[in-house]
């Protein structure tokens, strides 16, 4: 477990050694806030809550998180430093966890820096702060899920662009599973159980149910299992294609 911490700290520091961290955080904050105020109609709604803020998070993460995750393993493969890393006295599993948690903590930091919107809504009215807390928890879990998928896609290839595109496509599929666009196709002929099963695999269904203010153990377990599955898949992909 000690090695996970070492890799985590090294990775986290490497984000801030390059412009990556600053560009990512700046773009995330600008987009999150402009979506809230312009597309979400924060003022026009006349309600003191952060629903227009959280509603855009899945779509924002859809392309920002794969951009963050694409470098995790593809870059190591490209530069050949994966060989150096894996011949150190760390197991593959520790390296996967360390890199993943460093990226997640970084995403959490970007999310935490959106606190001015919380101050704003508290200044303008008296919002339900419990629901806002749940929204932040949901958003953090969502970022974790996207990152796990991105990490797995990054482990499959040595090309970062391919890792990015694969990450976006897989994340998009997981998002869309709960959308009427997909569910309506099945609704006319499939039994309700199948529709529920497809919807239960969707990020959107689980995220929205947390963001309205209720943390259900099913939503929590879904994200935990999804992250565990994709991290295991990352480890398997790296193990199989170690030499390439």
């Amino acid at each position: 477990m000690h090695n996970v911490g070492v890799i985590l700290r090294r990775e986290l520091r490497s984000y801030f050694a390059t412009p990556l961290a600053y560009v990512f955080i700046l773009i995330f904050l600008v987009l999150a806030n402009s979506f809230t105020f312009y597309l979400g109609g924060f003022f026009e709604r006349g309600q003191a809550d952060l629903a227009p803020f959280f509603n855009f998070h899945p779509w924002l993460y859809l392309f920002l998180i794969p951009a963050l995750a694409m470098r995790l393993w593809a870059e190591e493969r490209k530069t050949g430093s994966i060989e150096l890393l894996l011949t150190q006295p760390v197991t593959l599993w520790e390296a996967v966890l360390g890199k993943y948690f460093a990226a997640w903590i970084f995403a959490a930091l970007a999310l935490a820096l959106t606190f001015p919107i919380w101050l704003t809504v508290n200044y303008l009215g008296s919002p339900d702060n419990g629901a806002i807390l749940a929204g932040y928890v949901g958003s953090l879990l969502l970022a974790g899920g996207f990152l796990a998928i991105g990490s797995c896609m990054s482990a499959l290839t040595r090309n970062q662009v391919i890792a990015f595109i694969l990450g976006v496509v897989v994340c998009f599929a997981f998002l869309l599973a709960g959308f009427p666009l997909v569910l309506d196709v099945f609704r006319s002929w499939a039994p309700q159980a199948l529709i529920d099963a497809i919807a239960s695999l969707s990020f959107l269904t689980h995220f929205e149910s947390i963001a309205k203010g209720v943390i259900d153990i099913r939503d929590f377990l879904y994200f935990a299992m999804l992250i565990a599955f994709f991290l295991l898949a990352t480890t398997i992909a790296l193990d199989v294609r170690k030499a390439e």
């Binding site: 203010g213 153990i217 377990l221 299992m225 898949a233 398997i236 193990d239």
Partner: protein, 59 residues
């Protein structure tokens, strides 16, 4: 001796099936374990409502 990639692919498929299966299973099995964080308990029933619901007899 099976090829390493076949083994990995099989393990992945098994894990994916396990993930989908557990998600669907939990969706049905784990009802009611929830933490309502809204200030006015918008998504929970009041104790009085619970008593009334308990006293209802099934037809």
């Amino acid at each position: 001796m099976m090829k390493r990639s076949t083994l990995g692919g099989g393990a992945l498929l098994a894990l994916a099936l396990l993930f989908v299966g557990l998600t669907i299973l939990f969706d049905h099995a784990l009802h009611g374990w929830r933490l309502d964080l809204t200030q006015n308990r918008l998504y929970s029933t009041a104790p009085g409502t619970d008593r009334i619901l308990k006293s209802l007899r099934e037809p």
